[in-house]
């Protein structure tokens, strides 16, 4: 996710200067998933037929609205000219005008409705896609901060997209068609003026493109400045608990002000130029209209045109240029709106931890690598054949290639210093991720050939820092109230002696966990999750540091419970706990990253019986 994101070093760039004062670096969003056009192209591809149809309808509404405008100008011009000649307006003309008014109102409403509904549909698709991917193990592992950004973009991104669908897309499509249509309509009544406008139009368009390029650069600069400011603020707010602990929270407020001042100055300097180009366009459009008006005036004064035609042209002349001006403005506004979608697309694009076979990123989430039924790991041996995970970015490997066999129904302890890859190896066995090199097999089948959802039913897993999903506590650990799963859970809780702990919780197993629930401490979570993992009937038990954070009594009980639960099942446990390791059938020491780099390139599991 950091690709394409400028780094703001101390010193040098404008952002760097800011960072010297704030003491912090700041970053801006780069084109992580392509430019705005690319973002919207992909969004359209992803959004499906209904959204595309909706946009066609939106553009059609805009086109019909422009046509209605021509009719309105015609009726109004005729009516005024007639009145000047002493005639009153006919009922027919008023009825036509009324019909046009109603039609324009309905078209405007339809445009808004269809465009916003399209934006909502596109966003819904994007949300569901992201969620499916995450649940299928195909979303990139994000750190907390980035996860927050993605979630915020997913939940709040619709407004910005609505701007794009309701304004920018119709404006762009109409800018291509309406000016020419208006020129034709004008030329029909007054050919000379039509010809004149037809000549100015390409000049204005060419000029517009030239100026637009320049202003696009400035708009980008402004967006970057805003993004830098926004991320500086985000960074300070995220760091607030730490800053507060060191009494530096107060010092950040003036720093925020200073950085904001500097960026406002820079931003305004860019805007002065960016808006200048809009000014030039406005003046050009005014010039065109003025020329048309002058010609009309002369034609009228010389009696070579009638008032009705003159008024008609006068009413429509600004409409020749308006769509162009509108398109430019709306397009830049929509680029701002692309930001949220870009963030989500970037999250979709990032490679997930599981290998994917075939389906491209914008397709539906297909089966991830394999569809075979999972063998029973309590009957078939589990083998790592040189499986390893690279560190990336020049960091040491997260797991150096490992050869090992876990015999069915036996227990294996993974030991070694932190950073040696114990957790990573467990994740490979659980298939929470796939190895970069080598492979893992159960029996004869590579795990990548097995449907992950099926494999996961065979696995009971305890993470190093367990987190429980929100909702009923009992559901998260065992199963719904009164189920078999809950009965097993209660037995497991008795074994690890946390029935008291549960009884103390408000509502016991019926406690409803909230996101970021701070009623449970890390230690309580650990023990609850351990009971949950032991209560599972899955034949493969994978436990990551099950006795860490436990006091000696609790750790002793946990060891007993783990070994009891491992009867008839395969157990792999990563642990610093020597006693727990000693009770396993085998112990596999993993060397730490530094030692590995100078020692042999592959850890050979010399599976010494521990006792």
């Amino acid at each position: 996710m950091t690709r394409g994101r400028p780094r703001w070093a101390d010193g040098g760039s404008g952002a760097g200067r800011a960072s010297r004062h704030s003491g912090l670096g700041i970053r801006a969003d780069g084109p992580a998933a392509g430019g705005p056009r690319e973002v919207h192209r992909r969004l359209l591809a992803l959004a499906g037929g209904r959204v595309r149809a909706g946009l066609v309808v939106a553009v059609a509404c805009g086109g019909l609205g422009a046509a209605a405008l021509v009719v309105q100008a015609w009726v109004v011009a005729d009516a005024v000219a007639g009145a000047v000649d002493g005639r009153t307006v006919g009922t027919g003309a008023l009825l036509v005008l009324a019909a046009v008014v109603v039609g324009r109102a309905l078209l405007a409403a339809a445009l808004e409705l269809v465009a916003r509904a399209s934006a909502a549909s596109a966003m819904r698709r994007l949300r569901e896609r992201l969620a499916d991917r995450a649940l299928a193990g195909r979303a990139e592992a994000l750190d907390g901060a980035r996860r927050g950004e993605v979630v915020t973009a997913a939940v709040h991104g619709v407004d910005a997209l609505a701007d794009y669908y309701a304004r920018a897309v119709p404006a762009l499509a109409l800018a291509a068609a309406v000016p020419a249509g208006m020129v034709v309509a004008i030329g029909w009544r007054l050919p000379l003026v039509g010809a004149l406008l037809a000549v100015t139009l390409p000049v204005v368009v060419v000029f517009m493109v030239l100026v637009g390029r320049r202003s696009a650069a400035h708009a980008r600069e402004r967006r970057t400045a805003l993004a830098v400011l926004g991320s500086h603020f985000l960074e300070v707010v995220r760091g607030l608990p730490t800053l507060r602990a060191h009494g530096r929270d107060g010092a950040q407020a003036p720093a925020l002000e200073r950085v904001a001042d500097r960026y406002r100055d820079e931003s305004l300097a860019a805007l002065r130029v960016a808006f200048l180009s809009a000014l030039v366009l406005e003046l050009l459009a005014m010039l065109g209209t003025a020329i048309a008006a002058a010609v009309v005036g002369v034609l009228l004064a010389e009696g070579r045109a009638d008032l009705s035609a003159g008024l008609f042209v006068l009413l429509l002349a600004p409409e020749v240029y308006a769509p162009l001006r509108d398109a430019g403005q709306r397009f830049h506004a929509a680029e701002d709106g692309a930001q949220a979608a870009r963030r989500l697309l970037a999250a979709l694009d990032a490679p997930g931890p599981l290998r994917t076979d075939g389906p491209s990123l914008d397709d539906e989430v297909g089966p991830v690598g394999g569809s075979e039924r999972a063998p029973d790991p309590s009957r078939a041996p589990l083998r790592s054949e040189g499986a390893g995970v690279r560190g990336g970015d020049g960091r040491p490997d997260a797991l150096a290639p490992v050869d090992l066999t876990v015999e069915p129904g036996r227990s294996l302890a993974l030991v070694g210093p932190s950073g040696s890859g114990k957790s990573t190896l467990l994740a490979l066995l659980a298939r929470l991720r796939d190895p970069d090199v080598g492979g893992v097999r159960c029996g004869d089948l590579p795990l990548t050939a097995i449907a992950p959802e099926d494999w996961w039913t065979r696995v009971s897993w305890l993470a190093q820092r367990p987190r429980l999903p929100s909702g009923r506590l009992g559901d998260a650990l065992g199963g719904p109230a009164g189920s078999d799963g809950e009965a097993r859970l209660l037995r497991a809780m008795r074994r690890v002696a946390i029935l008291d702990l549960v009884a103390d919780l408000p509502g016991g197993l019926d406690l409803r966990l909230e996101p970021d629930d701070r009623r449970l401490s890390a230690g309580q979570l650990q023990r609850l999750a351990l009971a949950g993992a032991l209560a599972s009937r899955a034949p493969l038990l994978l436990l990551d540091e099950p006795t860490a954070h436990l006091d000696p009594d609790a750790a002793a009980r946990a060891r007993d419970a783990i070994m009891a639960a491992a009867e008839g099942r395969t157990l792999v446990v990563a642990t610093h706990d020597r006693e727990l390791a000693a009770r396993c059938d085998r112990v596999l020491p993993l060397a730490d990253a530094d030692a590995r780099s100078c020692a042999a390139d592959r850890t050979r599991a010399t599976l010494e019986p521990a006792r």
């Binding site: 939940v155 607030l240 608990p241």
Partner: protein, 577 residues
């Protein structure tokens, strides 16, 4: 003119010259059709050009000053909300995690629409629309009335309808939004672990349900916006129709000069440009109001710490300064529910004395409140009952800054801000020089890591910087505390996430580096208690002294039998309950 008024004045000028431009053009065309001498038209032609120029220039000025104002406002809002959050962070119900704080900043950023897209268009319309109706009334009173009614419908009725409908829809969306955010968050965080627990399908179903409910809300908002557009466009067209009918009739009756009719009709065409952005502004206003609502819900409430130095509360005694020299820290009768009222009592009558220069380990079962006690001793939170004093002065009566300069806590959740390693270390001590920072890093066992970094202390860490493991991040947090000038340091789990050898070395180095300073170490690591002079166990909300060193492996002693015989490592504790 004040900075806040400038964009408004320019906006009104631009809007009115736009309307006037059309009206004068209408006059001009009709007058031209009367075939006057060309000279008679010249003034009007010059006026039209001038109005066009004024409109374009005023528009330019409006956009520029408007953005200037919006950026100023945003900066002001950010600082103001930051201050309010800073007063409350750590309190129950205030998000503390980095990912949840993202939401806070995104809500603050949503306020930037308020100036440019809500207030400015509203202000311009409020002045320009009546002025236009007045001009129409001067030409033909009945047309003026029609214009006023039409403008009121388009400029007040339509936005009000949009606002009312959208506000209800957005408010009804709130639970779906919260549910989607939480579920998506969990899906991204736990991912396949949910599937592994067998909860994947249920979770996916919940997510889709929340997404569908949110989508339903979006469609209601779309309908509100569509109604607004229909009303506004219809009002504009209807007014044009009425003005045309009234004007042509008046002209036919000879009550309105033909040239004035031309002006009037084009005035009716141009007038509605002024109110056109208002239905959209109403939608923006709803979004801004929701953001303010969410923000207020997070940060409203009394400050977490009453600060005598900053609170202008006359009832509070004046700030007392903490003693300058070595001072004992004493806690009496500390009772605290960290989750707020109604949640379990975690600390239930803690008494504690820490002598200057003492080395104390604080152990106890996980979830027993060790971290809570640590944050109360460092006055990151005030206890519900009881008092902490330093050198006899209650911490509550001292300025928070004063407390921070005496007591420093390195918590478990040390955050690395995006920036250089040096900038991150200087959070602990703003004036620290490079040798001091390097020494602090060596004391926490990051010497070799530092040496291997290509840019040394200038290396970027945090989001886009080099990868820093959980253990390293934690140790950088300890280094920050070591750099601080505080004579009393509290370290919360400094050896968590470290293997045995590293943990041993870290503890030795930290003890050596803090020679002469008072040290309280919160730890679950009962194998490393030997170096401490005293070991205290926190269990069931109360403190007991426990055997230090390797004896602690057998667990803390029961409260009725303080282990008095265990040598200098165990000191008797005064207990009140």
């Amino acid at each position: 003119m004040s900075r806040a008024r400038r964009p408004l004045a320019l906006g009104v000028l631009s809007a009115l010259s736009g309307v006037a431009l059309l009206a004068v053009s209408g006059w001009l065309i009709v007058r031209a059709a009367e075939r006057p001498p060309v000279l008679a038209l010249l003034t009007a032609i010059v006026v039209v050009r001038a109005l066009g120029l004024v409109r374009a220039l005023a528009r330019y000025g409006e956009r520029l000053t408007g953005h200037d104002l919006a950026l100023r406002e945003l900066a002001r809002e950010r600082v103001a909300w930051y201050r309010r959050l800073a007063r409350r962070i750590g309190a129950a119900g205030v998000p503390g995690a980095a990912d949840l704080l993202t939401r806070f900043t995104s809500d603050v950023d949503a306020l930037q629409d308020r100036v440019l897209r809500v207030r400015l268009p509203l202000g311009v319309a409020a002045i320009a629309a009546p002025a236009t109706a007045l001009a129409a009334a001067l030409l033909l009173p009945s047309a003026g009335v029609a214009m006023a009614l039409g403008l009121a419908l388009a400029g007040v009725g339509a936005p009000a309808a949009v606002h009312a409908l959208a506000r209800r829809a957005v408010a009804d969306q709130a639970p779906a939004r919260a549910s989607l955010a939480a579920r998506l968050h969990e899906a991204l965080e736990l991912g396949p672990e949910l599937a592994l627990r067998g909860a994947g399908t249920a979770h996916a179903r919940e997510l889709r349900r929340a997404a569908a409910r949110l989508d339903g809300g979006e469609r209601r908002i779309a309908r509100a916006a569509a109604i607004g557009q229909a009303l506004a466009t219809g009002a504009a067209g209807g007014t044009l129709l009425a003005v045309l009918a009234l004007g042509t009739a008046a002209t036919a009756r000879g009550e309105l000069a033909p040239v004035a009719l031309g002006a009037l009709v084009l005035l009716a065409v141009g007038a509605f440009e002024v109110v056109r952005p208002l239905p959209e502004a109403a939608l923006r206003r709803v979004a801004v109001e929701r953001a303010v609502h969410r923000l207020s819900r997070v940060v409203d409430g009394p400050p977490l710490l009453a600060d005598a130095a900053t609170d202008a509360d006359a009832a509070r005694p004046a700030t007392r300064s903490l003693p300058a020299g070595p001072a004992a820290l004493s806690a009496r009768g500390i009772v605290h529910r960290p989750g707020g009222p109604g949640t379990p009592v975690v600390l239930d009558g803690i008494d504690l004395d820490v002598m200057p220069g003492e080395r104390i380990a604080l152990i106890g079962p996980s979830g027993g409140g060790k971290s809570t006690l640590a944050s109360i001793l460092a006055r990151l939170a005030d206890p519900d009952a009881g008092e902490v004093r330093l050198g006899g002065v209650p911490l509550r009566d001292a300025a928070v800054a004063d407390v921070r300069s005496r007591i420093r806590l390195a918590g478990q959740d040390a955050h690395l801000l995006a920036g250089t390693l040096a900038a991150n270390l200087r959070i602990g001590a703003p004036d620290a020089d490079e040798p001091a920072m390097a020494a602090a890093l060596r004391s926490v066992g990051l010497g070799t890591w530092l040496d291997a970094l290509p840019a040394g202390l200038g290396t970027l860490v945090g989001e886009d910087g080099v990868a820093v493991s959980g253990g390293q991040r934690q140790r950088i947090g300890v280094a920050r505390a070591l750099l601080s000038p505080a004579p009393l340091l509290i370290l919360d789990e400094p050896t968590a996430m470290l293997d045995a050898a590293t943990a041993d070395a870290l503890l030795d180095d930290v003890l050596a580096a803090t020679e002469g300073r008072t040290l309280v170490v919160v730890t679950h690591d009962n194998d490393r208690l030997a170096p401490f002079e005293r070991v205290l166990a926190l269990r069931d909300g109360r403190l007991r002294s426990a055997a230090g060193g390797r004896d602690a492996g057998s667990g803390p002693q029961p409260p009725s039998r303080p282990a008095r015989g265990a040598g200098r490592r165990v000191a008797p504790l005064s207990r009140t309950r």
